[in-house]
């Protein structure tokens, strides 16, 4: 058993995949060797820190400042050159499993609208069961002294309304569920 486990770990080390939130897959066959294969070219990368405390990655004679701004289990958010990128780091096996599970779920028929920022519900403009078109306002949320209309991202039918007028909501609180047409 012990042997088998160590064998698994070795496999992980030789090949790891970063799956970006933009659905791009980046495979690195041995990341600790610091070489990157990209668009048919295999090139070395250098990682270093300057005396001012900035970390860089050097690639093709260009340096990019970078830092890990969030790290939770295998979920990473990396800030590079002022833009953040989110990834999950997967092994070939875990990626396969993830894809299998996602295929089982299929494309979700229900879309949930979340509060884009903390605030107060000023008005609910729809009722459960009412038809809605893309871009039509469903809720008015007051935040940072602005009244913001929240629009439906899809054509569909209002399935469930989770908030009422004058409710206070936090960022990412669930507001409304809409069934896709």
């Amino acid at each position: 058993m012990a042997e088998q486990q160590s064998g698994n770990s070795k496999a992980k080390l030789t090949k790891l995949i970063a799956l970006s939130s933009t659905q791009n897959e980046y495979t690195f066959s041995n990341p600790l060797e610091k070489t990157v294969k990209y668009k048919g070219e295999k090139l070395p990368v250098k990682l270093y820190e300057d005396p001012n405390g900035f970390s860089y990655i050097l690639w093709k004679n260009k340096k990019y400042p970078l830092e890990i701004i969030e790290k939770k289990q295998n979920k990473y958010t990396v800030m590079l050159n002022g833009v953040w990128h989110s990834f999950t780091v997967e092994t070939p096996f875990s990626l396969k499993r993830k894809k299998f599970l996602e295929a089982q779920e299929g494309v979700s028929a229900t879309v949930t609208i979340e509060a884009p920022m903390p605030g107060k519900i000023v008005e609910v403009l729809v009722e459960e069961g009412s038809e809605i078109k893309t871009g039509e306002p469903v809720i008015i949320l007051e935040a940072m002294k602005m009244q913001n209309e929240i629009a439906s991202p899809i054509d569909g039918t209002i399935k469930k309304i989770m908030v009422r007028k004058n409710d206070s909501v936090m960022k990412e609180d669930l507001l409304i569920e809409i069934d896709r047409d």
Partner: protein
């Protein structure tokens, strides 16, 4: 009356900016210390501090008129510079200064009052033959009156709060069915934000440019303009990039708009620095919007193309001096662009990004100016606005200024908070922006992705995540010595080992 001391009733970069000029003029500066940012940089730049760290009431420190007036009298300070925001356009504060014989570095309280009320300001423009958008003569009685007016003016129309500003209490309406709902939204918003629900309505210009003219006027009736600023790159009516001159203006149009701006300033009896805002339509017709009776955030671009220190002129005008130049002597030379660097997450709809600025690498060079109130260790608090710096670039012409801007932004790094630098890169990459071909709809229609990243940048970030992960794995297996034991091990790895 020579001014020997100034209280700067403001914070951040504008407080530092005012203190720089005051120091050069041999004027003693006072700043207000608050408990919200007791270690802020602007406090180090002042000659003397006034301590407001003890909270006396619910009024925010920089809005507490009577407390500021009392401090000025106690320390026998000659003058107050309000900067922008806070009390800069509060007629009550200016009047209290007048009553107490404190030299308010700005226009008279009467002018601030008149220009602050948009209905009054528009009436003044109308009387002086400055073009205006068709709209209601005064405030609207109610929503159904708004519908009638909209039918006369023609859609699209915009509903605006009489007391509004900064995009609050404003709604664009495309069709009659929406007028009532939008009227109620905007009116409620204004009632809450400004304690005044009154609204007016006017014709909406679909894709205008936002062009503003810098006015400088003394107390002897001399009024000149210092050219325009192009402020069309905006998000929800918040300016993000400004430049001077505007790529849309030629000498003829500049003279025409400049004269209109001067006419308004003269009509209201203006003195000090002020800004007249216009909308410019594609057919070159322009419309008066409002006058800002203060120094603007974007004043540096005007300083770079005219070579005039606007803060110095404001102080001299307050002392009663005459303008040292005539309109003919004002020459716009070269091109200047300002980028507002805000602590905001561009990738999450420009939401505020709080935190501590861990590291900054500023760009440096002959044609680079940075106005900022932050340094390494500064805290971004939720109490104040999100602007942390202004990067201002000068070039002999627009093309050279753009090139220099791209180079400067490449060398500008901030660690610890998310900033709008990635947005600036995206704008500079845009072909229509580079050609000078844009209007206020730029962010909503042209630049739909508000940040810029090359494909290889995502790949390199991916590599770094995988590299870090692989190192954690190795450490967990004891293959490499773990120098930071406990710090690098994730709970996920720990679970694995326990099994």
């Amino acid at each position: 009356m020579k001014i020997k001391s100034i209280l700067i009733a403001n914070r951040g970069e504008i407080a530092i900016r005012i203190m720089q000029t005051a120091r050069e003029m041999g004027i003693k500066t006072y700043a207000i210390k608050t408990s919200k940012e007791p270690g802020a940089w602007y406090l180090d730049e002042a000659d003397e501090l006034i301590d407001f760290t003890e909270t006396l009431n619910d009024t925010p420190e920089f809005l507490d008129i009577e407390r500021i007036i009392a401090a000025v009298k106690e320390h026998k300070i000659d003058a107050v510079h309000p900067g922008y925001g806070f009390l800069a356009e509060n007629p009550v504060f200016a009047r209290r200064c007048e009553e107490e014989n404190i030299n308010f570095i700005g226009p008279s309280s009467e002018v601030i009052y008149n220009m602050g009320n948009k209905t009054v300001a528009k009436e003044l423009a109308r009387k002086n033959n400055v073009p205006l958008l068709r709209g209601s003569k005064g405030t609207l009685l109610n929503a159904s009156y708004a519908v009638k007016m909209a039918d006369i003016i023609g859609y699209p129309v915009i509903l605006k709060a009489a007391a509004g500003g900064g995009g609050r209490g404003m709604r664009v309406v495309e069709k009659a069915a929406d007028v009532e709902r939008m009227y109620n939204l905007a009116s409620n918003e204004s009632a809450k934000a400004f304690n005044d629900p009154s609204m007016f309505i006017e014709k909406y210009v679909r894709n205008p440019r936002h062009i503003e003219f810098q006015i400088m006027a003394d107390k002897h009736g001399n009024v000149i303009h210092l050219g325009e600023r192009e402020c069309s790159i905006q998000r929800k009516h918040q300016k993000l990039i400004e430049e001077s001159p505007s790529p849309a203006l030629d000498k003829e149009l500049r003279d025409k708009m400049g004269q209109a701006a001067i006419a308004i300033a003269k009509a209201v009896g203006y003195y000090s620095a002020g800004t007249v805002e216009f909308l410019l339509d594609v057919d070159r017709s322009f419309y008066f919007m409002e006058m800002n009776t203060r120094i603007q955030v974007e004043h540096p671009v005007t300083e770079l193309v005219t070579g005039i220190d606007l803060i110095e002129q404001m102080i001299r005008i307050a002392e009663g001096e005459k303008l040292p130049f005539t309109q003919e002597q004002i020459k716009l030379k070269g091109h200047a662009i300002e980028f507002r660097i805000n602590a905001e997450d561009v990738q999450s709809g420009f939401s505020p990004s709080l935190g501590v600025i861990e590291k900054i690498s500023w760009p440096e060079g002959d044609n680079i100016r940075v106005d900022t109130g932050v340094r390494e260790g500064s805290v971004i608090t939720p109490y104040f606005d999100s602007m942390i710096a202004k990067l201002i670039i000068y070039g002999e012409d627009r093309e050279k200024a753009l090139q220099a801007s791209s180079n400067a932004i490449k060398k500008f790094w901030i660690k610890g908070t998310k900033t709008t630098l990635s947005f600036c890169r995206a704008v500079l990459q845009n072909g229509n922006f580079r050609k000078g071909n844009f209007d206020t709809s730029f962010l909503s229609s042209e630049l739909t992705i508000h940040y810029h990243s090359e494909p290889e940048e995502e790949m390199l970030a991916a590599f770094f995540a995988v590299y870090d992960y692989a190192r954690d794995l190795e450490e967990a297996e004891g293959k490499v010595p773990n120098t930071e034991k406990g710090k690098r091990i994730t709970p996920w790895l720990l679970n694995k080992r326990l099994r």
